[in-house]
Symmetry: C2
Subunit: 206 residues, 2 copies
């Protein structure tokens, strides 16, 4: 048997992600990616059979990264509402502060319009995120920390807002302020039925 390079696909996907997330899919050529991975274009074609496949690999890499981050966070926070808030903070960070993630996902949206495989990849990823949030919200609701009738539709609206916030971050840099961050998280929690002050005992007032 000859030598093998099992790390190369990942290494190339990482390098591709970095480049794509900085300059966009259309503005990056395979030579650039190759240079950043410390190889030449020919080597890329040993592991991926087209630029498109490399793009898909970069997407998968991004999805994995997000999952790892989120589940690490969830495992470390016991209280349901705290956990929800932490995940929201992470999501906002991912979308707003971390420019690479923001650019990369925005590019994915545009590419999804034309390529069904990119689209279904994102759809699958997004489903896991949605279910994750529905779980978090339901748990917090059962703990009496949220006043919400339909967690599913609330989560859908909240996730829409996050995506929209991501887009706005491109045009409104002030969104990156730490203070603004907290306001955004607060606004998202509000969509999820969090009422400021003594949380769950608002209903009893009337």
């Amino acid at each position: 048997m000859p030598r093998t390079a099992p790390h190369m696909p990942l290494k190339l996907a990482e390098a591709a992600f970095e480049q794509f997330a900085t300059e966009g899919f259309a503005n990056v050529n395979l030579d650039q990616i190759a240079v950043h991975a410390g190889v030449t274009k020919g080597a890329i074609y040993c592991h991926y059979k087209s630029k498109h496949e490399l793009i898909l690999a970069a997407c998968m890499h991004y999805y994995r990264l997000y999952q790892v981050k989120v589940h690490g966070l969830i495992a470390s926070v016991p209280d349901p509402l705290d956990r929800l808030r932490k995940v929201l903070e992470l999501s906002i960070y991912n979308c707003v502060i971390d420019k690479k993630n923001r650019v990369f996902t925005t590019e994915i949206f545009a590419l999804s319009l034309q390529h069904i495989d990119v689209r279904s990849g994102w759809a699958q990823f997004y489903d896991t995120v949605r279910e994750l949030f529905i779980g978090l919200v339901t748990t917090a609701k059962l703990a009496g920390q949220l006043q919400i009738e339909d967690p599913r539709s609330a989560v859908d609206m909240m996730l829409s807002a996050i995506e929209g916030i991501k887009l706005r971050a491109t045009f409104e840099p002030h969104i990156s302020d730490p203070v603004e961050q907290q306001n955004l998280v607060q606004g998202l929690l509000k969509i999820l039925g969090y009422t400021e002050g003594s949380s769950a005992d608002v209903m009893q007032k009337s």
Copy 2:
């Protein structure tokens, strides 16, 4: 003096919009646009000095169209809450049902990441939309139809949600259902402080 063709720039911008909104900026070449405008590529360069300028013109065309539609709607509905609801319905229609608008704006977002002129064009447009909504919400609030403290931040969150809904529409076709439409409008109104039922007299209950 020679002949003149004052309608050509608009005609080309319209044709460009149509093509870009169908296939995306990167997948449309100037020959295609020329054919759809009933001219040849050479003619385009009489009116625009690059593809990029034509893209900007297509953007401006889109912005104008939206403004015309919205202001036509506003003028025809007297009640503040009704007016707000109608504008929201139009916005959802624009973002979700009207695929061309959805595709075109998504492409703008991606292009904005790299091109400052595209970005500032959108930012300017978005500002007018934001101010419009703030006006609508404030009017409805003063009329006692909305329970909202800070119209500005509520509108920001609501507009984020709309943008996010637009993105989701690419991945979740069921959003196009008429029923779902109304749910979305209802959810957006909720963000703006609309409490279902007898609207403005909720406070008095406690």
